[in-house]
């Protein structure tokens, strides 16, 4: 295993109490632990979903000279509920 990779949970020889001092809500910690037990292929199967995003998905290609231009385009063109507007 290469440096930095999250090892499979069963190889870690750790237990939940080793994370008890971390300021992480219990529910999230359980989710992190469950994810760490899954192989990457399974994690990805659960993680990547496809739902239609209006406007965003309506062009096969877009490019922006700057990130600022892209952010402005999102704020001007996308429905607010998609959440792409800046706070």
């Amino acid at each position: 295993m290469k440096s930095g990779e999250t090892p499979p949970r069963e190889e870690l020889q750790t237990s939940a109490h080793e994370f008890a001092d971390l300021d992480i809500p219990r529910e999230w910690l359980e989710e992190f632990e469950a994810a760490a037990r899954r192989p990457l292929a399974v994690r990805m199967r659960y993680a990547f979903i496809k739902t239609y995003k209006p406007v965003m998905d309506d062009a096969p290609y877009r490019s922006f000279e700057t990130m600022e231009e892209y952010r402005r385009w999102c704020e001007t063109n996308l429905p607010r509920w998609l959440g792409y507007a800046r706070v």
Partner: protein
């Protein structure tokens, strides 16, 4: 189009390796590779800007099945800040200048490898999302920061 999957991620990894493209998974897709449990739609790649890397990237994308016009290929080679591809076998966002990260070489020096996938360090993923300052990231940032603590602890345990 079906959702992005592990097989497609491996196709990117292998094609980019063949063409020697310098890139990193970033954004939520990068965090997911690190072990972060959440959902997302697209893969986001932080690509090093530069003529040689740009050409290699275009060759790799065409090899993967992306239909690029010559104009689009030129824009990608040039490294426009943000390119959104929905003209191939899966959706892909190419980011040449992510918010919150100064230089590719800095992110590369901190990156981690997960099954051969080059991935931005969790700190860079968080920095990028924080700098983007989007409504959709507000809630996820708190959980992502919690994951950072967990992930660092795991790294400590794995040596």
């Amino acid at each position: 189009m079906p959702a992005f999957d592990y097989r497609q991620a491996k196709e990117i990894r292998d094609a980019f390796a063949r063409h020697q493209v310098r890139y990193l998974f970033i954004g939520k897709s990068g965090a997911i590779l690190l072990g972060y449990p959440d959902t997302t739609q697209d893969a986001d790649l932080f690509v090093e800007r530069g003529p040689e890397n740009g050409r290699a990237l275009v060759h790799a994308l065409r090899g993967l099945g992306f239909s690029l016009t010559d104009t689009q290929a030129a824009e990608i080679e040039r490294g426009k800040d943000f390119v959104q591809l929905k003209n191939g076998p899966f959706d892909l966002d190419l980011v040449f200048a992510p918010d919150g990260i100064e230089r590719f070489v800095d992110a590369w020096s901190r990156h981690v490898e997960v099954e051969g996938f080059p991935v931005c360090h969790i700190d860079d993923i968080i920095a990028s999302k924080a700098a983007a300052n989007r409504e959709r990231d507000r809630e996820s940032l708190q959980r992502l920061r919690a994951f950072r603590e967990y992930w660092l602890r795991l790294k400590d345990h794995s040596g």
